[in-house]
Structures are given as C-alpha cells and as structure tokens.
Symmetry: D2
Subunit: 395 residues, 4 copies
Amino acid sequence: MDASLGAQEAGAAMRTGIWLVGARGSVATTAVVGAAAVGTGAAPPTGCVSEHDDFREVALPGLGELVFGGHDVARTPLPKRAEQLMEAGVIPHGLADLVREDLVRADAEIRPGVTAEAEDQAAAVATVVADLEEFKRRGNLERVVVVNVSSTEPPPTAHPAHSTVRALRRALASGEPVLPVSSVYAMAAFLAGCPYVDFTPSCGARLPALVELAHERGVPCAGSDGKTGETLVKSVLAPMFARRALRVRSWSGTNLLGGGDGAALADPARAAGKVDSKARVLAEVLGEPVEGGVHIHHVPDLGEWKTAWDHITFEGFLGTRMTMQFTWQGCDSSLAAPLVLDLARLMALAHSRGVHGPVPELAFFFKDPVAGGEHALEQQYAQLVRWANGPRVTQ
Amino acid sequence: MDASLGAQEAGAAMRTGIWLVGARGSVATTAVVGAAAVGTGAAPPTGCVSEHDDFREVALPGLGELVFGGHDVARTPLPKRAEQLMEAGVIPHGLADLVREDLVRADAEIRPGVTAEAEDQAAAVATVVADLEEFKRRGNLERVVVVNVSSTEPPPTAHPAHSTVRALRRALASGEPVLPVSSVYAMAAFLAGCPYVDFTPSCGARLPALVELAHERGVPCAGSDGKTGETLVKSVLAPMFARRALRVRSWSGTNLLGGGDGAALADPARAAGKVDSKARVLAEVLGEPVEGGVHIHHVPDLGEWKTAWDHITFEGFLGTRMTMQFTWQGCDSSLAAPLVLDLARLMALAHSRGVHGPVPELAFFFKDPVAGGEHALEQQYAQLVRWANGPRVTQ
Amino acid sequence: MDASLGAQEAGAAMRTGIWLVGARGSVATTAVVGAAAVGTGAAPPTGCVSEHDDFREVALPGLGELVFGGHDVARTPLPKRAEQLMEAGVIPHGLADLVREDLVRADAEIRPGVTAEAEDQAAAVATVVADLEEFKRRGNLERVVVVNVSSTEPPPTAHPAHSTVRALRRALASGEPVLPVSSVYAMAAFLAGCPYVDFTPSCGARLPALVELAHERGVPCAGSDGKTGETLVKSVLAPMFARRALRVRSWSGTNLLGGGDGAALADPARAAGKVDSKARVLAEVLGEPVEGGVHIHHVPDLGEWKTAWDHITFEGFLGTRMTMQFTWQGCDSSLAAPLVLDLARLMALAHSRGVHGPVPELAFFFKDPVAGGEHALEQQYAQLVRWANGPRVTQ
Amino acid sequence: MDASLGAQEAGAAMRTGIWLVGARGSVATTAVVGAAAVGTGAAPPTGCVSEHDDFREVALPGLGELVFGGHDVARTPLPKRAEQLMEAGVIPHGLADLVREDLVRADAEIRPGVTAEAEDQAAAVATVVADLEEFKRRGNLERVVVVNVSSTEPPPTAHPAHSTVRALRRALASGEPVLPVSSVYAMAAFLAGCPYVDFTPSCGARLPALVELAHERGVPCAGSDGKTGETLVKSVLAPMFARRALRVRSWSGTNLLGGGDGAALADPARAAGKVDSKARVLAEVLGEPVEGGVHIHHVPDLGEWKTAWDHITFEGFLGTRMTMQFTWQGCDSSLAAPLVLDLARLMALAHSRGVHGPVPELAFFFKDPVAGGEHALEQQYAQLVRWANGPRVTQ
Ligand SMILES: NC(=O)c1ccc[n+]([C@@H]2O[C@H](COP(=O)([O-])OP(=O)(O)OC[C@H]3O[C@@H](n4cnc5c(N)ncnc54)[C@H](O)[C@@H]3O)[C@@H](O)[C@H]2O)c1
Ligand SMILES: NC(=O)c1ccc[n+]([C@@H]2O[C@H](COP(=O)([O-])OP(=O)(O)OC[C@H]3O[C@@H](n4cnc5c(N)ncnc54)[C@H](O)[C@@H]3O)[C@@H](O)[C@H]2O)c1
Ligand SMILES: NC(=O)c1ccc[n+]([C@@H]2O[C@H](COP(=O)([O-])OP(=O)(O)OC[C@H]3O[C@@H](n4cnc5c(N)ncnc54)[C@H](O)[C@@H]3O)[C@@H](O)[C@H]2O)c1
Ligand SMILES: NC(=O)c1ccc[n+]([C@@H]2O[C@H](COP(=O)([O-])OP(=O)(O)OC[C@H]3O[C@@H](n4cnc5c(N)ncnc54)[C@H](O)[C@@H]3O)[C@@H](O)[C@H]2O)c1
Ligand code: NA
Ligand code: NA
C-alpha cells in the first residue's frame, strides 16, 4: 500500500532519541534490548501496541531507528544488566549477545543521574538540559523524548513554588531544593524542548508550574504510571460490572513484587503514590468508592516477576452475593518495555504535530492518566486510535 | 424531565406478557420473583441493565407491569420452587412470601410443555400457538415476548426441511418430527406474532426456515445463550489482551455446575452446544484459534451455584511467558434472571418499532450472538445503547 | 461396648461449666447455639474433634450437659446475637429459635467484663474470681473451664512484675495496672481453681508469673490462638514440602477479614500478635526462615466470612522453580466454635486427672502452641489421641 | 560418625544399575542428568527424599554411583533430549553440557523397546531378559532395578492367564499376546532377578500372576504411579479435613498437562488408569465417596509444566458451607526424577535385604500404593523411615 509505505517512511525519516531516566533499570534495559531485537527482525513485536494494524497509517519513527541514552545513578553497564535479565528469564537466552553492540552504544550515552540529595537544583536542571542537548546534537536527532522509568519516589510535600513557573524559578534561583527529583528531570526536559513521559507514579510533570512550562515551551507531556498488570485488568473488569449493573461491594488487591521495583515499593512512603494511582480507576468507573484497597508486599524471591491477587465481592439480582478472584503472574519488565517504546513513538508524533501540555489521548497506557481521562480500557483504546490517525493539526 | 416521563409512560402503557419456556426452572422462577420485588420497590434493580441511566429515555414496559406465563414439563408449583431457591440462597429469606400472590398468578398461567417425544409436531405447534393467543387475550396484552429458558437440548441433526418455511411446513404436514423442541416453540411464537428469545444454547430460532418465518411474520428474534459468567469475563479479558498486542497461547476453562442445568449439561451431547457457544468469543476476538477449550463438570453439591476457573497463558515482549487465572463463583439464576427481564423489555421495544428477524444489537446479552455480531463487551454495550435510544423507525 | 458406655457416663456425670470471656462475640454465640443443637441431636457434631471415634473411650463431659456463662463488655443479648449470625449465614435459619431457651439461660449468666481502662486490677481480679465462684455454686458445677474468646488485644509491654507470682501480687497490691486484660482473666481463673484456655493470640496465661500460679493452684492451662484457617492448612502443607525435600523459598499469606475480629485486627498493634503466631509454624517446620510473611486486611463487607490467599514458591530438583497457591473461604466462627467446645471438654478431663500448668498435648488446636510443641498437624493429632486415651494418672 | 560412614560406604560398594523403561522420556532424562549433577556436587539434592537426614544411617547406593540403561521406542539421543528439557526450563542452562559424557554413556545403554504390536510376547520377554542380563554383566553391577517411566498405557482387558504364573506361561507359550506391554517388562525383570517399580499407572506388576512370580524369584516390586502433584497435596489436605471432623462434600480436580505425558493422557482410555489412581486417596482417607472427580485436559502450550486446580467444598459446624481451592504449578519431571532415584536406591536396599513381592512401606511415593497401604502422607513417611532404618532381616 503506497499510502502506508509513505507513512512509515515519513516516520523513519524522523530520527528520534529516547532518553531514559533510570536507564540501567529492568524496564529500560528490556526496552533497549527489545528495540534492537524487534528492529532487526530477530523478535516479533509482541506487546507493542503501536505495531498494531490500527496504527499502520500513522507516521511513527521506526522501532529500529530509535537512539537510546539516559541518566542513572547505578553503574552496572547495560550488557551486564542484560545478562542478569537473561538469568531472570525476562530476556531469552542468546538475545543479549545478539544485540550486544546496541547495548554498548546505549551504555555510552548514559550520564550520572540527579540524586535526592542534590542541593543546588538549578544547577542540576542545567546539567540535565546540557546532557539532553549534547545527546541530540551528537546523535543528529530530530527530537528526543524523555521517559522516566527510574525508581518510584515518595509523594512530595506541597510547596507554593509548585504553582507557577515564576515562583518555581524564583525558589530554585534562591537555592531552595523544592522539587522532587522526577520533577527536576521533567523541568529540564521542557527547557530542552523535549516531550516528557512519566512512566512511574512519581510526581514528574504533575505540578502546575511544570504544566505551565510545557505549554510555554510547546512540548507535550504524558503520564502517569504505566498500566501493566493488576490495574490493566481492573480497567476492563470494573466496566464489565458497571455495564451489567452488578454492584461491586469490595475489591481487595494484593501485589507480591520482587526486583528493584519491589524493594523500592516495600517502603510505604514510596508505595503511597502507586497505591493511590492504582485505586483511582475503581472509584471512577464504578461511580462510588469501594472497600478493599491495594496492598504491595516485597518478596525478593520473585525477582523480576510479580503476582497480583485480586478478590472482588459483588451483588447481583435481589442482593445475591458473589465473588470473583484473579491471579496475574506477569513479568513486569516484559509488559512495560514495549509500552515505553510505544510512548516514545507516539510522543514523537505528538511533538511533530505541535501538541503541547498533557496529552489525555494517551490514557490507555497509564494507571493514573492526566487530565481526568477515561478509565475504561476500550474507550481509551478507541480514543488513542482516533487521535493517532487524526489530522496533523497544531492544537 | 418531561421527555423522560413521557418515555416511561409510553412504555408502561404497553401491557407486555413474558411467556417463559421452562417456566418452573430456576431462572424463570427468579425472574418472576424479581420482577414483582423490583416492581413494587421491595428490591433495587441490581443486575437489570435496562434500568441503567443510559436507558432512561427509552420507552420500555415497566418491570412491575410485566405479566408472566409459560410452558413447562415439570409440575412443582412456582411458590414451592421459590421456597427451594430461598433455601439455596438464590432468593433472600422472606421475599418468596412477599410476592406469593404474584407467584400463584403466574403459576396459573403455566401450560404443559412440548416434549422431545411429541411425534405430531404440527399439532404441538398449534397447541403452543393457541396457548400464546389465549394468554394474550386473557391478559389483555399488547404483545407477548417468548423467552426460552428451558433445559439445554442436544444439537439437532441437520435436515433439509430446516432450510425454508415451505420445506418445513411440508415436513410437519407429512407428520415427520424434524424439529428440536426449542424450534417447535420458536415456530409457534412466530406464527402467533410473538417476538422470541433464545436464552439457552438450544437450536430455537437458529434455522434458516425459522428466520425466514420471523421476517414473514414481521417479528424480531434474538439469541443465543445468555452470557452470565465465564463468557462474560472472557468478553472483556480477550479484548484486553488483543488491545495490548499480547499473544494468548492457551485459554482453558473449567465449569463446575450443580443444579438442574448442571445435570442437563453433564450429558456431553447437551453440553456440546454450550461448549461451542462459549468457545466462539475467543477465536473471534483474538483472531486465531486458541488451545485449551471449555469443560463442564457436574457437581450436584454446588446447587444453584457455579464455579468457573479459567487458566490463560500468554506471551509478551520477546516471547516472555505469563499466566493469568480467574475463579468466578456466581449464582447463575441471579445473573440470568434480570437479563431475561431486560430482553423481554427490549424485544417488546423492537416489536413496537416493527423490527423483524434477528436483532444483532442485542449481542451484549449472549454468548453466541446471532448474525455474527461484535464480541467485545464494550462495543456491544455501546451498540445496544445507541440502538435502544435510536429513532423509532421501521426497518 | 460396656467400657465405652461407662466412659461416656463417667463424663456425663461431671457437670462442667464453660465461662467464655467475650461471651457475646461471634465465636461464643455460635458455641452456645451449637452445644445446644448438637446436644439435643438437632444437628450433627460436624467439626467437633472430640466426637471423633478416636475419643469414644475417653470420659468427656457430654456436649449437651455443658453450662455456659461468661464476661463481656457488650450488651447485645445472646438471642439477638444469634439472629445476627443467622442473617450472616453462620447459623442455619430456624436454629436460633429452636435453642432460644438455652440462649436466654446463658445470657443470664453473663457479667460485665473487665476493661483495659480498669485501674485497680487487684479489684478486677477479685470481681472475676467472685463471678466464677458464684457461677460454679449457682450451677452446682463440678468444675468451670474459662475460655478467652474476646477481642484480640495488642501485645503487652514487658514488666518485671510478669516474672513471678510474688512480684505480680506486689505490683497489683500497690495499685499498678501491670497486666493486659486477658491476663487479669487468666489470673482470676487460676485463683478460682479453674482451667484456662487462650483461644486468642492475646497474652492471657503466657506470663511466667501466671504459669507459676497455675502450677501452684494445680490447674491446667492451654493456648494460644485457635487454629482454624490459613494456619491449619499451613500445618499440613509445610510438612509436605519438608517430607519431599522440596525447598520452600517464599510463603506469602493475605487474610481478608470482616466482622468484629477483622475490625480489631485492622489495628496493626493488635494484629501483631496474630501475625506473629501465624508465622511461627513455617520456620519451625521448614527449619529455616522463609520470605513472605502474613498480612491481614479488614474488608467489612465479608462479614463473618474470611478469605485467605497463600502464595508459595518452592524449588525442586536441579533448582526448578514452582508455585502453589490456595484460597480458603471459611466462616471463622463455624470453624472456631466446635474447637472451643472440644477444648472445654478436654481441659475438664485434664483437670480431673490433676494435670497442672501448660498442656502441650493440645497443640493440635493452636496456631502458637505453648511449650514449643510439635507443629505438624498429623503429629499433633497422634499426640492428642494418645494423651486423651492415656492412663488417668496425676502428673 | 563411624556408623554413618560405614553405612554410606556399604551402600556405595553396591554398584547398582537403574534400567529405565521409557529411557528417553522427560522423567528419565531428568533423572540421568540429575544423578550426574548431584553425584558430582554440581547441584544440591533438592527433591531427593533419600538424601534427608532421616536416612543418613541407611546403606543406600550413592547417587553418583548409579549406572543407567533402559528401553525406549523413541530414537532422539539423550544429549538432544537434555537440550530440549533445557529449552523448556526443566534443566538449568549449562547443566546439560556439564554432564554430557554421562548422557552419552547412558544413551549407549538404551535398547529398542517392546511395542504393543509385538505379537510374540514370549520372545519379547526373552529379549528384555537378555538386555537386562547383558547390562548387568557389562556394567559389573551387583543388581539392576527396573523402573517403568514410559508412556501410560490403557487399562488392560482382564484375561484368565493373569491369575497364575502357570496360566500365564501357558498362554505366552501358545503365542497369545495376553499382557499389556508394561507387564511384559515386569515379567522380564522378575525373570532376570531384578526389582521392578511401576512409576506409571500402567498395569505393570499388578497382576496376580506377576506378584506370584516376584515372590517365586525372590525380588521386590513397588508401585503404582509416582505421586508428584495434585495427589501429593490431596494426601495431606484430605487427612486435615478428616482430623478436624470437617465433612468434605465435593472435591473436583482439573489437570492441565502439556508434554508427552499430556498427549498420552489426552486419550481417555489411557487417562482412565491415572484418574482412577488419583481418586482413590480421597475415598480412603475421608471414609466415604466424594463428588467431583479428576479431569485431565491436554494443553500442549504448557510443555513440561502442569497446572492443577482443585476445588473443594466442605461443611463445618451446624452445616455451614465453606470452600477451599488450590492451584499447583509444577514441573512434573523435576518432581518425578528425584523420586525415581529414591526408589531405585530403596529398592536396591529391599533387594539386598531379601524382601520379595510388593513393598507396602514405599506407599509414600505412589498415588495408588500396592497392598492397600496408608494414604495419609505423614503416616506414609513415618512408615518409610521406620522401614528403611529397620533391621536388615530377610522377610
Ligand atoms: N515494570 C512495570 O510493569 C512498571 C509499571 C509501571 C511503572 N513502573 C515503574 O517503572 C520504574 C522502573 O521499574 P524497574 O522495574 O525498571 O525498576 P529498577 O529498580 O530495575 O530500575 C530503576 C532504575 O532507576 C535508577 N534510579 C534510581 N534513582 C535514580 C535517579 N535519581 N536518577 C536516575 N536513575 C535513578 C536505578 O538505579 C535503577 O537502575 C519504577 O518506578 C516502576 O514503579 C514499572
Ligand atoms: N443461569 C444462567 O446463568 C444461564 C445462562 C445461560 C443460559 N442458561 C440456560 O437457561 C436454561 C435454564 O436454566 P435453569 O438454571 O433455570 O435450569 P433449570 O433446570 O432449573 O430449568 C429448566 C426448566 O425447563 C423445563 N423444561 C425441560 N424441558 C422442557 C420442555 N421440553 N418444555 C418446557 N419446559 C421444559 C424443566 O422442567 C425446568 O423447569 C438452561 O438451558 C441454561 O443452560 C442459563
Ligand atoms: N474465629 C476464629 O476462627 C478464631 C480463630 C482464632 C482466634 N480467634 C479469636 O477469637 C476471638 C473472638 O473472635 P470473634 O470472631 O468471636 O470476635 P467478636 O468481635 O465477635 O467477639 C469478641 C467479643 O469480645 C468482647 N470483648 C471485648 N473486650 C472484652 C473484654 N475486655 N472483656 C470481655 N469481653 C470483651 C466483645 O465485646 C465481643 O463480644 C478473637 O480474638 C479472635 O482473634 C478466632
Ligand atoms: N512426571 C511426573 O510427575 C509423573 C508422575 C507420575 C507418573 N508419571 C508417569 O511417568 C511416565 C513418563 O512421563 P514423562 O513425562 O517422562 O513422559 P514422556 O512422554 O516424556 O516419556 C515417555 C517415554 O516412554 C517411551 N515409550 C513409549 N512407549 C514405550 C514402550 N513401549 N517401551 C519403551 N518406551 C516407551 C516414549 O518414547 C518416551 O520416551 C508417564 O507414564 C507418566 O504418566 C509421571
Ligand atoms: Na521490576
Ligand atoms: Na511430562
């Protein structure tokens, strides 16, 4: 099909960088390995939504054309991290060797990350901006999409400087470290003219001051918290109960997590954001708050795997009480990595179309979508397809 | 709202009969009890889709205005059946007493059913037609919707007489019993000018000859097999995997059933239809056949309750294998009865609008919707709401 | 069999009282209803271990001969509590009416309980002693077994007065409230010459001073924490893994509880004791500590029902990793009440045999058995049967 | 410990052969790989019951000293089968290479198996006897234990020749193929003076004529059907319910199997034996037949893995109905292979002690133990330990 070929070519022409905050984490490493493997045809694009037929006509950068870089506070080189993920069963045996060169190249583009201890946040922002600009120049990239896949941080304390760009600039200038680290990255991304995605539940771009900045700089942002497991299932089961007029009485979720992410979320302060973003979907879809809640427990033995058990009680005709439960055994990085690639491609598209500020049409990917988007997965998908295939107009 | 009130009144004015084939079964009895209880405000309309806000403007007969009758081969009177369902936890204690009068009234309208042994099917059809016409006259009803909720029958043997009305009439006239019992009921319904619904997987109206007859007589029909449990869940989970480009590799379903229905389905011949209609949704939504299958086992101890366990293996990015499983513990009659009421109301609407032949817009209610309708629940719901609220035009 | 008849008669002759601390709770109410129902033959002794054939020759008080009394801080009369349990599905419809007289009689024997606020604990002990003695006299009872089935209390703060009877008496005399409430009851029981059972994880008799007192007064004590659900299953599954040389790597338990007990355990301080006693069995049977832990979440909608989900990862030959999970949906009071009756009968036996201090042979009944007893259920059962059928010698 | 060392040495001195019928199957291959790996210390003896401390004093042949040979009708060489099991996750990456030499050596000792089509069974028996004798001589082995781990065969048709050695010999002599293939192997084993173990549910040694022959030749036999998953769990859960006087009302088991074994058991005729031996434990332990049954479904995608789901309904005090369910996800070969090694070692011991005929003390290992042994796992274990440590007397 000529039209389609045209679309793909237009996309491929856009040399696009992905800058991963948390570039040596499991999700990031899997994304780098996978982009190389799928890009060269060594693996099928299973799990990549943007490879679906519904996006055939959309001009997206090719998976194999993506150029990787990022920040991390960890030192383990990517080839080593890929080994570890191979041992853990996330990446098939042999594959890490196959894409070794790509890993080495990406590793060379990783810069030391900002830490929570950084006192001079103005300087930190400037460093990140410089890192992004050099990456773009060195790679001769048309644009760079920043995706935050670093460890989840605790919810920030509210501060007046979060309200406006002006207040924020003033606070940083005065040396006050008012931003959570994720927001340092988001701010720098906007200043460097880069689209920014919050794949974690961390604060990131979700401050009025930063939303204002995104609009000001004409760049799009999206988030929060990639929807890969239990919440994904919720986003189809809750609408099912609602459509059938069945009354959900309780919905209790238990998540057993190993891995780096599990360790981070074992800290209740950090888990708070996650638990929060996971709970929202139910109340919104069911129209009333529901008993139960979401619980996260750290079980190191599970490694990169995660098991979620959800127990739901509901009421049918004449008050009869019924129960549903499900167990989800997923490899989180395998579920998350292709979505990171999808998001980078779609944000490149948004940027090329001149979209700025939060993009509610990407709600499909997130546990806690910006701008109060739709929570039912099917509606989210329909919205996404419509948007991606829509006319290339500037907002 | 004036418009809404007008709509409700218009609906209430249509005195509508429901004729239940299998009128003394669990589903039927629960429907009679429930219509009375909800109609008088003794119970909320939980589980009744047509009571949802999205149908507020639609002119449907009032739940409390429905008049019940039906056929059955069993003798246990409805008040006694209601007792049994109370013991079994399907109907709350006390409720059967509250609606005793309604049960006695409905029981008086139950006529002896047609059996598989009936040799003279032309006569059987004539008797059913006469029963329906008397019911309509006696009750001074505007229309009567026939709903088949009798025991599931084995798939019929194909016969040339199934192809056209003419061939069928000729075969019956010659005394050949070519129809499965459910189709005798469907034929009679059409001849008596009544809409007909297949809530079971039995053959019913699904013969070309009968579809032809429905069009000829200008009456609508719908089916097959009420979607109340495992398949309902499938119709949201399968699209979830599809949307996320995750490849489902196997989907194995096990259903433990007690009750009358369980006993009937313990017979593999009868189960065949059910298993078939349950399997279809997966292949259609996922675009390829999937290993596993659906298994039904009879466990009398479960009584009116049913437990389904589904085990799904799927593949994510780079081939990683993951698993999901769910257990559904439902009270089938509590799930089915409100849908029977919904269907009767919506078919009355279809009839009043002059719709004839299969109504694909009711796919939302069925495991195996006629006319190759959509299989994803959300799409089915959207289609239903659109149709119900659509202009009152004749097809 | 003559011998057997003789045994039963001897038992029946011992008029035995059960004094329930928490006498208006769910467990207590179910025990009173059940003793009456089983005693009169209105219900079979399902769940009563002491009715098993293995105890046929043992001289135990008859179930129908038990006389009930107790303490509670709640006011709802027992007949009303029985209604509520009927509504909740714990007690079959009709049964509460049948045993109404027994409930009224037991209710008349309930006295106001000691509260945590009671400052003068010496006086509180004296009141409880007086209550027990009057109950015994009024009922003309040979002995009274005290069973603590009141709400779980937080673990107590250590205090030097807990070490010896002498130190304890001195502290109480000086007006210092050093005891948790459960231990006030235990102390009073011993002073009144009554066997005492901790069916809860509360401190109760588990203070060196109180163990000393039990020996001094020549009365037996037993505990702690009735083993009714998840831990019961653990006590057979953990030995299974051990016997097969399979290495358990993690065992994560989640308990969803409604009811009064759920509300109490929603308080992490109170849950601490429970979680602790639930964890012990694994480490002891498996010979090494195991990752995972036990979590309790309060889901009021579950009412008297409880659902536990346990997820176990284990390792087989050559390191292969496998998984087992189970879901237990139990009605806690139905599981606990017959054990309360068993314990009262067996403690009456112990007392009649002159046993004093902790009785390790009752480990079968407890999550956290005294005296470091065996944790594997089969061994516990064998030990119990041997002990009960053993010679009637004084220790 | 001198005694212990002496014991181990005595065992090691006995050079023991294992002859595997089905030597190229998954279980057999895993056993050969594992014996080598554990024997050389490359892997810990997880899953090997006979390596437990309770058997420290027992004179068993060393794991690394076992010599392998066998029959199979398949041609794929063992090193290749080991590769496949590595791909399937049964054997860790790298291990197959490590023990390659052992695999090549064992493969050289595999002879073509007897097929169901073999008409001249007398000749077939003779060939197997010759194969066994040559293996023993070539390897300079003190004894050879034959273990049947070939594909499950359908239950045989009863035949008068099965009753006595005499009748059997006569039938074979007359050229009548009266034996199922597994019994051909068993007969040959006995004639060659080899202990024989039925690890499958096939008929094997379970014919009166063959039991007679085993006694006649002074060799022990054991079986049937290795207890590795669902039935293992049943053998501890069923006693739990029994001990607590809880009444089990239904127990429904569903087994999803991939692999060669799954394919074989997809044939209902072959599954019959398995289903049967799996059901027995419940009726025996619970003292009454229980509704539900065991169902086996073939899901090729599961490969060497198996998932069993069991759903249990039970009744507690006052008739309250409760539910338990468990899901077992096991790698069958990892569970079975160490037991095959255990059995070979323990049968060598039995043989050295002069035990002949069925050995009920090995019930611990089997779903359907010979000679109506105990079904509760703990009792079986106690019996096994006692027997293994018992005096070395001839029966
Ligand atoms: N995997 C999923 O399914 C999923 C879904 C939604 C959200 N997430 C989120 O994605 C994030 C990454 O998950 P993961 O499994 O890869 O975790 P991980 O622990 O493997 O990786 C996180 C990486 O972030 C790095 N990091 C920590 N602090 C940093 C900082 N200040 N600057 C730069 N890098 C820093 C760490 O060194 C580490 O390499 C988590 O926040 C997780 O909650 C994951
Ligand atoms: N309950 C659900 O969730 C659900 C969902 C989909 C479909 N269904 C179908 O609905 C039907 C009814 O289910 P149920 O639980 O009420 O079963 P049931 O056994 O309680 O009732 C069936 C009734 O049909 C009657 N019957 C049998 N043969 C008849 C005949 N020839 N003519 C007239 N009546 C006849 C029986 O006497 C009985 O009273 C079944 O076919 C079932 O498969 C039920
Ligand atoms: N049900 C089970 O399976 C099970 C198993 C093990 C232990 N337990 C323990 O048994 C206890 C009772 O459980 P339940 O479900 O009946 O709870 P419940 O809340 O229904 O009953 C507890 C009763 O104790 C009373 N109480 C509270 N403080 C008291 C005091 N100071 N003095 C006297 N009475 C007091 C309450 O008023 C209430 O009536 C709990 O501690 C629970 O943890 C129960
Ligand atoms: N794995 C377990 O947990 C377990 C437990 C109990 C019993 N078993 C039984 O063990 C047996 C082996 O299981 P598996 O998973 O290794 O199966 P498999 O299919 O991998 O191996 C069976 C082997 O037997 C061979 N075979 C078939 N017919 C033969 C014949 N006539 N003579 C010689 N060899 C023959 C096949 O070629 C194959 O190599 C099965 O019968 C199974 O039911 C296994
Ligand atoms: Na992770
Ligand atoms: Na297998």
